[in-house]
């Protein structure tokens, strides 16, 4: 499923809303999650999962093609941990 398909499904379930408003709603929700991580906050969506940004220290990496040493600056990596309910649902049928 891609985002436009998600928008179509929600629009179908909410005939009183314009398609472009549903698009705005969906984008707003996901943008807010990204912004929270940008601000260094955690996002906890019960039943679904939690987003957080993990700190990665600066390190010396290597250019895999040339083997040359390159300095990699410290950075933050978005991380998602699946929620309990979703994890169970992924493993209950069959």
């Amino acid at each position: 499923m891609i985002k436009s398909e998600l928008v179509i499904k929600i629009a179908e379930n909410n005939p009183h809303l314009y398609h472009r408003d549903v698009e705005r709603i969906v984008n707003r929700v996901f943008d807010e999650i990204t912004q929270a991580m940008h601000q260094g906050n955690r996002v906890e969506l019960r039943g679904f999962g939690a987003f957080s940004a993990k700190e990665r220290q600066a390190r010396t990496g290597r250019n895999p093609r040339t083997g040359a040493a390159v300095d990699v600056t410290e950075k933050r990596v978005p991380f998602f941990k699946t929620g309990k309910e979703l994890r169970q649902r992924l493993n209950t049928k069959g």
């Binding site: 379930n13 929700v29 999650i33 955690r42 978005p78 699946t82």
Partner: protein
């Protein structure tokens, strides 16, 4: 870290405030977005949200594990796990850089 945690209630509030839906309807929107994504994943599909990231379901085979407390070897049953791969845009934003283009 600034100890704040964003929850479903905060997302509801954002929609209520900025899109002008009632609080009830905003809450329903947040829930139905997350439910539709979950349902699609449970059905085994990949969910790709441009500028956000991709959720994928991976099947793991059985492997041997160990009870860390007792040291006893126990088989870890085959299972499905969810993997999230953030988009380049998300990685850039989280690092305070320009969002840039889709990866």
């Amino acid at each position: 870290m600034s100890g704040k945690t964003l929850t479903r209630a905060d997302l509801t509030e954002v929609l209520h405030r900025e899109v002008g839906l009632s609080r009830t309807e905003s809450a329903e929107m947040v829930n139905s977005i997350l439910d539709l994504v979950s349902d699609s994943l449970v059905a085994g599909h990949t969910v790709k949200l441009s500028s956000f990231g991709t959720f994928m379901v991976r099947a793991k085979r059985q492997r041997m594990g160990r009870n860390p407390k007792t040291g006893v070897e126990v088989p870890i049953t085959p299972r499905r796990v969810l993997v999230f791969r953030p988009s380049q845009i998300m990685k850039n934003i989280v690092n305070g850089q320009e969002p840039g283009d889709e990866d």
